[in-house]
Symmetry: C2
Subunit: 345 residues, 2 copies
DNA sequence: TTGAAAGCGTTACCAT
DNA sequence: ATGGTAACGCTTTCAA
């Protein structure tokens, strides 16, 4: 592609044109840098004549001037950037949608959401890197941030640190996703339907232990002090592993299984049926997440519907925390779990 | 939470402690700011005595000093930030994984990937906002960036602009996802299996037209100059709409359907079966994306396996472009499409 | 081996 | 109504 320089034709200028600054705009418009700033930021405190405004605007347009965010926030001493590290665990469609809505909600409150792709640094190292951006708030999904990290972030000016996970972190606001409730919900349902020997699928995939462990605990809690038993069933997300598990199903002597989520449930369901295990006749199956696809299975999949926190509420929590950084960390239980009974249980 | 000031006990300091700067570190260590910079950046050009180095490091540690990225890149005149706007279309698991790998690959090349959550500005407005961050490269998935936007980005110092979509954009490197090939692959397969009246599902969901339109074109191309017909079938991603479509299936007189992707395929498959249409006996069904879950359907779903570009290759393309910004825009066709024949066709 | 000073692009204060 | 100037935090050249 040929470079077409806008600089006077006499100059050869093979070097790429430098990025225009507000000084360039000022020069072209014949005013001072201050005036440029006033005009472009619609400063109401000072009155600039209309012709001047036009000249400045035209000069900015002609040069293709774009303000330099770093310089601006350096000068201002603060920014409205919210850093959200990319989750380190495989994220389902539910959660994915939630993150999208959250971005939207924060955007509407005039924050700039930046999802930071942390390569794989250990928690408190990562916090340092995020802190270098001097975000006004940090929203951390999952674990990987300790009290140390929170300190680092706050010390470097973050007015709000919010974690979204299963455990609270000292010094940070916490949205606690109560995965035990999910397991409890499933366990209670299966028990009520007369099942007593309950299997619980534990995904082999790394990173999911965070969610699966509390879900297992929830099931155990649900049938605590009863005659029911709970058996953990490691399962990788692939057909062959499901087949292997189904092949030894009889030896396990289970009459129900909570399959971690709908995807694992569908996988296992199919394998069980292929192995000649009747669902729900021989074994009841319950998933979680209430995915559309679970409804398409035969039998239709019973599932734990999970209600994630409202993106708007979370955005407002962040905003509140930013406005009043001194306030005590809030702690909210989120994740409503309700059972949707269909045909597989 | 009680604020515990580290400042001398005599000072009341109810105001939050200011964020430490390199000047604070210098003062505490009893050296100049220059020395601090040298030590903390391991500058090899100058030799600093070991005791001094230690004093500086300890001072930085004690104050919890974290360098200010904005100030640094302002001074340096460039950064290694790669801005990747969040896709505006609903993104499937395939694409999601790809984006994750891409982040990793770029991170390994020492770029800092920042996924920018654009609220919903029209294309070239958005480009301005991205440009304010002065990224060294911009990676735009999907449409929403015109030649204007590319100009804005380049003028503000972006050394590489890469689009990942269906159409090339003037001035930008392009990774062209050939969705026509997906449709072509499906259409050819159905034709070869003797099907002549082919339906193509077109999702009603907004934002998906970008992919569905070329896929339809691909099917048409595959059966061009033959006796086969192609019928577009609008379908929303919900059970009732699928039911409605299935109810009038007989009147459509189709013997095959390419269902846009596996999820729509599963939805439609179930609705067809419920309506008494045999699959593949009466109607053959083909999906796309080769999801695990498609394999679990009965009959197992035939599908178009889609090969996304290698994240490493793309990262290297970006790196190459950054190193040589003057080079002509590269244009690569990506997206290998191969049919996986199972039982539904 | 270390320090002083300039400058990156902005904006807010204080003159004019 | 407009312009000069200083300062934000950092790196780097030059001088000691």
């Amino acid at each position: 592609m040929v470079q077409i320089p806008r600089t006077p034709a006499s100059v050869p200028s093979p070097a790429p044109r430098a990025v225009p600054t507000s000084a360039d705009v000022a020069r072209l418009a014949g005013v001072s840098r201050a005036t440029v700033s006033y005009v472009l930021n619609n400063a109401s405190a000072v009155r600039i004549s209309e012709p001047t405004r036009r000249r400045v605007r035209e000069a900015a347009e002609e040069l293709g001037y774009v303000p330099h965010a770093a310089a601006r926030s350096l000068r201002a001493g603060h920014s409205r950037m919210v850093v959200m590290p990319a989750p380190t665990f495989p994220v389902g469609p539910l959660y994915h949608r939630f993150l999208g809505e959250l971005q939207g909600a924060l955007g509407r409150l005039d924050y700039t959401v930046v999802q930071y792709g942390t390569v794989g640094l250990p928690g408190d190292e990562a916090a340092r890197v995020w802190a270098e951006l001097r975000p006004v708030a940090v929203l951390v999904p999952g674990p990987g941030l300790g009290p140390q990290g929170v300190q680092v972030l706050k010390r470097s000016g973050a007015r709000a640190v919010v974690t979204l996970g299963t455990e609270p972190v000292e010094g940070a606001h916490a949205l606690l996703m109560d995965h035990e409730a999910v397991g409890d919900c499933a366990g209670r349902h299966l028990y009520d339907r007369g099942r007593r020997r309950i299997g619980v699928v534990v995904p082999r995939e790394p990173g999911l232990g965070l969610f699966s462990a509390p879900r297992v605990r929830g099931v155990r809690r649900a049938v605590h002090d009863s005659d029911a038993t709970v058996t953990e069933l490691p399962l990788g997300y692939d057909e062959r592993d499901a087949e292997r598990l189904a092949a030894r199903w009889d030896t396990l002597g289970l009459d129900a299984v909570f399959a971690y989520n709908d995807e694992y449930a569908m996988l296992l369901c199919r394998a069980l049926q292929d192995a000649g295990v009747a669902v729900p006749g021989g074994t009841a199956v319950v998933g979680a997440d209430d995915l559309m696809l679970g409804r398409l299975l035969r039998p239709r999949l019973s599932t734990v519907h999970i209600e994630l926190p409202s993106a708007r509420d979370l955005a407002e929590l962040v905003d509140r925390a930013v406005r009043d950084p001194g306030a005590a960390p809030e702690r909210h239980k989120v994740l409503g779990a309700t059972l949707v009974h269909r045909e597989s249980s």
